[in-house]
Structures are given as C-alpha cells and as structure tokens.
C-alpha cells in the first residue's frame, strides 16, 4: 500500500539520497525562457525536472498536477506573474484560486499540499525567486517521495 509512513521513517533515518522529481509550469510572461527557469533549480533537481511553458498561469489545470503525481513526480511547481501584472488581467488570480482548491483537495486525500508549489514571480527579482524555490525543494525533501514502490 502507498502510505506516507515510509516517508516518515526515511525522514527519521535522515536518508539524504532522495532528490525530488518535479514538474515545473511557468507562465511565459513572468519568465519566457524555460532554460532560465531550469537554471533556477538546484542542479540535481534540474537534471530530472520537466519544465513546461504556459501562455498564462491560468492555463495550469489541476489535472497536470494530479497526473504528475500519478506518474511518480514528487512535486509540481507553478510560476506565474505577480497579482496586478497578469497579461490577461486576472489569469493569475484564477490560477491562484484553482491551485488553492487543488491544495485543499490534496490535503483532504492525505497528499501534502506543499507538493504543489505556487509562486508569483516579480520580473525584477530573480534572487528572491531562486530563494523561494530553494525553500520549496527543502519542503519536498522533508516530506519525501510521493510514491512508495509497490
């Protein structure tokens, strides 16, 4: 059975072998270059991450995340524009509500909502973004892998 118990045990044993696999979805307006996005990830994470570009964070669907978890990804990261900066005016607000709901549903189902990371990027502050992403990866490290092998 798939449980989070093994992950707690792994955490307790201070297993440092785990490198999370994440799927990153970024809006093209906050960061047009997927390579640049990948470079904001720690190296070992970037090696196994997939990065997808969306026309707007509002294009992000819950299915992308849910399916990603089913495929064995440990985290899904969404990068969009800061509120007020959306090219389509309210796309990011819609995405924000949608992802918030997704996180609540995951939590009800026993899946750590922090696996879905949502960050609204300020165009001018790459450093802050990078630091935020580090924090997100750190939280994934703490939670552990999504899937236990059956």
């Amino acid at each position: 059975m798939i449980t989070d118990e093994k992950q707690e045990v792994a955490k307790a044993l201070d297993c440092t072998d785990f490198v999370p696999s994440i799927a990153v979805f970024h809006c093209r307006w906050c960061q047009p270059d997927s390579e640049a996005v990948a470079r904001m990830l720690p190296d070992e994470v970037a090696q196994r991450a997939v990065v997808g570009r969306l026309n707007c964070s509002a294009r992000m669907e819950a299915e992308f995340a849910i399916k990603a978890f089913g495929e064995g990804y440990d985290g899904v990261l969404v990068l969009g524009c800061e509120f007020g900066e959306c090219h389509y005016r309210v796309g990011n607000v819609q995405a924000s509500r949608r992802l918030d709901l997704l996180q609540r549903i995951l939590a009800l189902a026993g899946i750590h909502p922090e696996r879905v990371g949502v960050y609204w990027v300020s165009l001018f502050d790459e450093d802050t973004t990078r630091r935020w992403i580090d924090g997100y990866i750190e939280s994934l490290n703490k939670i552990g892998p999504f899937k236990d092998s059956d």
Partner: protein, 272 residues
Amino acid sequence: MPDEELDSREEQARRISGDLLASDKVDGVLALLEIRDHVVPNLFTSPDELTGLSVSGRYPVAGVAERLLRKWETGKIAVIARGCDERHLIEMAKKKSVDLDRIRIVGLACTVDEAKQCHCVRPYTHEVEIGRSVGNVDYLDHAALSKLLNMDMAERRKFWTEIFDRCIKCYGCRNVCPLCNCEDCRLEEARWVRVGEIPPEYPSFHLIRAFHMADKCVGCFACEKACPMGIPIGRLHQLIKEELKSAYDYEAGRDIEEMSPLLAEGLLGDLS
C-alpha cells in the same frame, strides 16, 4: 402520520401534473412511475398514466431532464423535483446545459425520513408545491466526516488509497451525477487516466473528478449510492464543498446568479 402525508403528496403531485398536461403548458411531466414495487423515471404525457405517479424513492431526474431537452430541440417539460433535483437544475443552468425556460419545476418537499436517508441539509425546493417543507436540517453524517478530518496526513493517505483501490471503474459515480454531463469526459481520456486498468489509475481518476465536481456538487450523495464497492465518495465531495464555503462562502445550486469562485468572469467583474 407518515403514510397520510405520503398519500396526500401523491395526490397533490398527480393533480398538479394533470393540470399541467391538460392546460398544454408542458409536453410531459418527468417524475417517478411506480411499477411493481419499484419506482422508475418516466415522462408522463397523458393524464391516464398519472395513477402510477409516485413520490417515494429518488432518482436523479435532473440528469434525465437535461438529456431529454438536449435531444428534443423544442418543447417544455415539467419536472417533479426534490430540493437536490432543483439544485442540480440550477447548477446546470449556470453552465447553460439546460434552459430553465424549458423546465417547469414542480417543487417536492422531502419528509424527515427521506432527508435522513440522503444525509440532506436542504430537503426542499425554493417553492414547495407538493408536501410540506421540514426546513433546514442537518442530517450529515458528522461522525464520519469528523473521523476523516481528524486523521493526520498519513492516515488520510492510507484511508483513501486503500479505499480507492476497491474501485472497478464502473463510472457509476459519474453516470448518476446530473452535473457530470460533459460530452468529452476527462476521465475517459487515456491521456489523463490510463485505460483498461482495475483499479483505475490513482490519484488521477478520483481526484480529477473530485476537483471538477468541487464547485458543482450539490451534496445529493447519489454517487455513493451508485458505488458498488462502498467507496464513501460523497463524503469527500462534502468536505470539499465545506472548503469552498469557508473560503468563498460559495454553495453550488443555491442561486443561479451565484457564480463559481473559480471562474474568471466573476473576477473580471470585481476588477472592473
């Protein structure tokens, strides 16, 4: 005296249906027909059929109404609707799946027993024409819901993973739900849910549906009744509804003007 109440509800229903048919205001009345101890959805088109009209038992008739109106381009039908049926119709009207101008809702109030069976909180329609409303009640299974909420993450994960593992992909939950009427259902797309697997792919099958239903579910629990494997899917939907209520004070099926908080339309209105 429940029996007496039931009788007069039947009589009321038949009288109103008879009047509607006679006055030619509607082409048919969608309600339940009692045959041989069973009740089935039926479109009554002539007054002599009305002796079989029953108000006991529940089928999600809103789904039938939507399919019939989609098939027949013109025409108007009356629907004897319980509270949940009306909420279904309101939700569907929001999506423009039904044109409420083509439906004459005949409101049926549920009895206390009926409300209890369905864990209902609002067993009546906006306008009650059959029976007497028992008002707002709370027959939700709070013990069961609390049990789920009191579990920690690991327990919840174990609970839902094991119970979803029973699923045999009958699509019963989706098929009975009147709000699940997309022509291209995501659950049927191999891209999102691998085909031919029992149990269906986890978490895709159940959580994609739970997400889609979040702002549409009116809490009728028909999905749970249709599940052969006893998966308490209605409870999960109920908990999700409570999240939307606490975050946005949103309730599906309450008011046709009440837009889902997930839609951009509502947000644009705010910003302009």
